[in-house]
């Protein structure tokens, strides 16, 4: 599929996250049909696309949640290994599912993940994170008593607990009320401090374009269009998006 705009090169900063010929098949269904990516420190990529385009599968492979059928994912030049899990410290994943336990408190959930990641100074770290996402007073409340927005906030705290330098977000704005969305926006803005690499999948055009350094549209398992948001504003992009998606259909 021809690219309308070539992907921005990021040679100087050093490549942090790379995908080479990623393919994901579920039996006869091809979800991802060959994707190459190259992201440097400080890059922030937003991927748009219709449902069924394979965006979650792509993110799943980038985060090591699933094995590619073909191709490889490299972090700082090293192919991710499924037998040595140490590289997992560098990756944080936030999905629309929170990975939380209903009957554990906010604090207990974070403590559990903190211990899996073997993080030092856990108690202070937990306190700090809960503070940051505005859940400090709810630390001893069981997750089943938290609202959806609060659970997303807790999920965010969990995803960033170990200070990953690669952050993968799968539809993080889904189902958030405006205040939770605002908080998410703030936290994500903080993440884009030039030292982290962020990949976000979203349907939300406005949030997705804001502070992204790279934008792509995924259709039918391939990245059909790549560009940088400085070239377009929201309205233009909306038109571009429809053109690309209908073009591929």
């Amino acid at each position: 599929m021809p690219e309308t705009v070539p992907a921005a090169s990021s040679v100087e900063s050093g490549v942090v996250l790379e995908a080479r010929g990623l393919v994901r098949e579920y039996g006869p269904v091809v979800a991802v049909a060959g994707i190459d990516l190259s992201l440097a420190e400080g890059d922030s990529l937003t991927i748009f696309g219709p449902n069924g385009a394979g965006k979650s599968s792509l993110l799943g492979m980038l985060g090591g949640a699933m094995r590619p059928t073909r191709g490889a994912v490299l972090i700082r030049g090293q192919e991710i290994s499924f037998s040595d899990p140490r590289w997992r410290h560098r990756v944080g994943i936030l999905s629309h599912q929170g990975f939380l336990y209903d009957r554990l408190t906010a604090e207990e959930n974070l403590r559990f993940y903190g211990r899996l990641f073997d993080l030092p100074g856990l108690s202070e770290r937990i306190g700090e994170r809960l503070e940051r996402v505005g859940l400090a007073e709810r630390r001893t409340v069981q997750v089943r008593h938290l609202s959806h927005g609060m659970r997303q906030r807790l999920g965010l705290a969990r995803a960033l607990l170990h200070d990953p330098d690669i952050v993968l977000l799968d539809e993080p704005y889904t189902g958030l009320d405006p205040s939770a969305a605002a908080m998410l926006r703030d936290v994500l803005a903080e993440l884009r401090d030039g030292k982290r690499t962020v990949v976000m999948v979203t349907h939300n055009l406005k949030e997705g374009l804001e502070s992204a350094t790279h934008v792509a549209i995924q259709v039918a398992g391939r990245l059909a269009w790549r560009g940088s948001p400085s070239e377009l504003d929201s309205a233009d992009f909306g038109r571009q998006y429809h053109a690309v998606v209908e073009g591929e259909a």
Partner: protein, 226 residues
């Protein structure tokens, strides 16, 4: 190394804490144990059978069916909010995850096995005498082997469209050694035979449990892989 044990400990603690808060597995296993003993008692014709003669076998069958109830749901707690993916994308070693879950399940089943022993002693009028300690050991070893196989196959069956109903089909053929050695040994200990008579079988039961744990630890990663 200590990271490994910390991760293992985190999983055991988390599973047990969740069980403590909801109590649904232990209560269903416990209720099953007592009710099964009641029904078994009524199923016996005491004019032709002595309860003490058949108790050993029935104890182990109760343990197995009750155990299936609890172990079958071991991955259910992870499925609600996708928590399993959170664990699998963490640096925790897959075998640590398996061993952690198995140990937590063992704790639950072991407690239930003591309940089963107690209830059967009461209902079937058993006289355990000095062999109580050995009986507890045998039940422990049997439970350990059972939960190792059960946890592994619970992971397998929860990934299929048949779910938990597949679990007995997968596990039962492999439980023959556990039932043979476990019930055989239990029967003799209940009949006040000395431990030296059953020592060999107890060792085999232990070997069975160890093999199941080792195999599970190695194979678990292939089961949970996406």
């Amino acid at each position: 190394m200590s990271t490994y044990f910390r991760q293992l400990g985190a999983i055991v603690a988390k599973d047990l804490l969740l069980e403590l808060r909801s109590r649904d597995r232990i209560s269903s296993m416990g209720a099953f144990a007592v009710l099964a003993a009641v029904l078994f008692h009524f199923s016996l014709d005491t004019s032709t059978t002595r309860p003490q003669d058949v108790a050993a076998g029935l104890i182990w069958m109760t343990l197995i069916f009750g155990g299936l109830l609890g172990v079958g749901r071991t991955f259910h707690i992870e499925s609600q909010d996708g928590a399993m993916q959170g664990i699998l994308t963490s640096p925790a070693h897959k075998d640590a995850v398996f061993l952690g879950k198995t140990l937590a399940n063992f704790a639950l089943l072991f407690v239930v096995s003591l309940l089963v022993l107690g209830v059967f002693t009461l209902f079937f009028r058993l006289e355990l005498g000095a062999n109580v300690g050995w009986l507890v050991l045998v039940l422990g070893l049997g439970s350990l082997g059972f939960v190792a196989l059960g946890t592994l196959f619970a992971a397998v069956s929860s990934g299929t469209s048949m779910g938990e109903t597949l679990l007995p089909i997968l596990v039962f053929p492999l439980l023959v050694p556990m039932v043979v050695y476990g019930a055989g040994t239990t029967g003799r200990l209940i009949a006040a035979r000395p431990f030296s008579e059953v020592e060999g079988n107890v060792k085999l039961l232990g070997a069975f449990a160890l093999a199941a744990l080792a195999a599970g630890a190695v194979l678990f990663r292939y089961v949970v892989e996406e």
